[in-house]
């Protein structure tokens, strides 16, 4: 059982890393100026918010649940931050408020799912609509952010030659590392895998299943809010319809990175590579001068392929038993 899980995990991660390398190589061969440190750094610059969000979603997927409210949480965080800043609230207070809302909202959804046995998809779908609606209640117009702290975060960067890495990328990398450490080396992290492997067994083993499940949704809510903060650094604006469909990007990053939708297998490092792969695809679409909607279609197609690979591996493993 363990070796099977490990086999799937390593194989998926290997496929993911190879795919990233292959896509990057393809881009480098096909387009001049593609192969550079700047391109690589820009992948991180443009996708740091998605990395944070998909790490949060990875926690939920690992327990076998699903969270499709993250896109709205990101949008709501941006709109609320922009609105509060416009109203003269100091930046640290705004950060604290939006992160607390993310945590509270995630915990609330987790509690509904765990204690009232509601289906995760319906609760998080309702959460998605609730926050999207709340965005519109605050403002249907785009609100610009002019706060000096946000401006500083948006503009400060480290330059290596012509390649630049913005400060907020380090937030994303810190989140990935923290998630990796939590899942790998803490009791809570092992519980997450145990619940995803078999909730029944975890319960019979005396593990705190209820607490774990509520916590993963809380983490997902927190990560989505933090992703929203980074996104507001990135765009310096809050708009109620931004990021429609981000939940699929986050979930597919996790899945492409080797997380099983049935739970129990996966890692945040994989999700990081999943995000990078989608970033490369987006770059390729831009370089090729195609309609940007090809990115969405390509991502969805890639997700399909990976899910089917997972099913084939899982079915084969089941037959061997």
């Amino acid at each position: 059982m363990r070796t099977k899980a490990r086999g799937i995990r390593n194989l998926s991660l290997l496929i993911t890393v190879c795919l990233f390398a292959a896509l990057f190589l393809f881009g480098s061969l096909a387009f001049r100026k593609f192969f550079s440190l700047a391109t690589l750094f820009n992948l991180f610059n443009d996708n740091s918010y998605l990395m944070i969000v998909s790490v949060g979603v990875t926690f939920v997927l690992l327990t076998g649940g699903i969270d499709i409210s993250v896109a709205s949480t990101v949008a709501f965080t941006c709109v609320l931050s922009a609105w509060l800043l416009e109203g003269g609230v100091p930046a640290p207070a705004v950060l604290l408020i939006v992160l607390l809302i993310g945590i509270g909202f995630g915990a609330g959804m987790g509690a509904l799912i765990q204690y009232f046995q509601l289906q995760p998809f319906i609760v998080t779908l309702a959460g998605q609509f609730f926050l999207r609606g709340m965005c519109a209640v605050i403002s249907t117009e785009s609100i610009p952010i002019t706060d000096p702290f946000y401006m500083a975060m948006a503009l400060n960067k480290i330059a290596v030659g012509r390649a630049k890495l913005y400060y907020y990328v380090f937030i994303a990398l810190a989140v990935v590392l923290a998630a990796w450490y939590t899942l790998r080396h803490t009791r809570f992290g092992r519980n997450v895998y145990a619940v995803g492997g078999s909730e029944q067994s975890a319960l019979l083993m005396g593990l705190p299943v209820a607490r774990t499940k509520v916590l993963v949704y809380t983490i997902s809510g927190f990560c989505a809010a933090l992703g929203g903060v980074v996104f507001s650094f990135y765009t310096l604006a809050g708009y109620s319809l931004q990021n429609v469909g981000l939940e699929l990007d986050a979930i597919s990053s996790a899945v492409i990175g080797g997380t099983l939708l049935t739970g129990g297998v996966g890692s945040p490092l994989g999700s990081l590579f999943g995000v990078l792969i989608q970033g490369v695809i987006q770059n390729l679409v831009t370089y090729q001068n195609l309609n940007t909607w090809w990115t969405k279609v390509a991502n969805a197609a890639l997700l399909c392929v990976f899910i089917i690979i997972q099913r084939v591996i899982a079915l084969r493993a089941e037959k061997e038993k």
Binding site: I68, L118, V137, G245, L261, N299, I307
Partner: protein, 344 residues
């Protein structure tokens, strides 16, 4: 032997119908009766109630398909994108942007749009029934990619068309009643006949209650699922036609955006369990009418339409809570609600 009223009260549609009548009554009182006024202009009926029936037709169609999908214990959140695809195809054909050899023919446009809907539904069904994906993930793929496909069909533009027969789909009247109402009645009748006069409805409920047991009982669970997703795709395509005929063009960004929540909500209000099993299509239709009348009332009150999403999300969670056994036990600890049945 139950009396007629008692039997009516125990029907699934009883509570939704009561709520609908209550909303109508409140609206009637607020508007001082003008809510119910129906005037006849050039042999066409006009009025708020008629508007609700016409504008709610898309949602009613979606909820017919969605009821059957939810009855199998699945879900279909791709309906909004399928609406966008169908509208994009129909308008692009009429505008001769794609398949110009058809000469912008109206029947071909409608036919291809419906075919696309069936294909989308079959694709969802394939992922759910054969690849055994969670329905939410399977349909989410199409939800995101579908809007992209629609954009690619129209090349990212809003296609506006001039076609009198196409306008008729949304704006036409037969015997004074809007044409979309007939479409809804037709598919309602078809779905009811298929579910209640054949064994299919029984298979559907059985699949939703316990797929494993149903398979051992000889029901082809995969085929049942495949069929309902395909049907849901078709319903979405027709809803997309009505939508695009209404705005006289195809707007891929906004066609059917966020409507999947309304469709699920309509079914939930109708009292069908979202976890599958017993279902009632007429109850879902009433649920759709309730949502439409709330939306219309909110619009009349000058509130931002997006804000109704907040209300709808809260209603969905409330309904789910009332359906949840855990919640019932939490608020009424003394009573054991039907636990004996679930245990066996």
């Amino acid at each position: 032997m139950k009396s007629g009223f008692r039997r009516f009260r125990e029907m699934q549609a009883f509570w939704p119908l009561t709520v609908l009548l209550a909303i109508f009554a409140v609206n009637g009182v607020i508007t001082g009766g003008s809510f119910f006024e129906i005037s006849i202009i050039e042999n066409h009926l006009f009025g708020r109630v008629i508007d609700i029936a016409r504008n709610g037709s898309k949602l009613m169609l979606l909820s017919i398909g969605m009821t059957m999908v939810l009855a199998t214990g699945g879900t279909d959140i791709s309906v909004g994108s399928v609406m966008a695809i169908s509208g994009a195809i129909a308008c692009s054909i009429i505008d001769k942007r794609i398949l110009p050899q058809l000469g912008g023919s109206f029947p071909a446009a409608v036919g291809f749009a419906m075919l696309a809907g069936v294909a989308c539904g079959a694709w969802n069904g394939l992922l759910v029934a054969k690849a055994k994906l969670q329905p939410i993930v399977a349909t989410m793929i199409l939800m995101v990619a579908g809007r992209g496909v629609a954009q690619l069909i129209t090349n990212g533009k809003i296609v506006t068309i001039t076609s009198v027969p196409y306008y008729f789909i949304n704006g036409g009247y037969i015997l004074g009643i809007p044409f979309p109402v007939y479409i809804v009645l037709f598919f309602l009748a078809a779905a009811l006949l298929f579910n209640r006069r054949t064994a299919f409805g029984l298979f559907l409920e059985s699949t939703g209650c316990n797929p494993t047991a149903s398979r051992f009982a000889g029901i082809r669970v995969d085929t049942v699922k495949w069929l309902v997703y395909t049907f849901s795709g078709l319903m979405a395509a027709i809803a997309g036609l009505i939508e695009s005929a209404g705005i006289k063009g195809a707007d891929c960004n906004n066609a059917g955006l966020f409507i999947e929540m309304d469709a699920i909500l309509a079914v939930a209000i109708g009292g069908t369990l979202l976890s599958g099993g017993r279902f009632s299509i007429p109850a879902s239709i009433i649920g759709a009418l309730i949502i439409q009348s709330i939306t219309t009332s909110v619009l009349a009150m000058d509130v931002a339409p997006q804000a109704t999403q907040v209300v709808k999300a809260v209603i969905v969670i409330a309904i789910c809570l009332f359906q949840s056994g855990e919640f019932k036990r939490a608020i009424r600890p003394g009573r054991r609600e039907g636990k004996a049945v679930e245990k066996t």
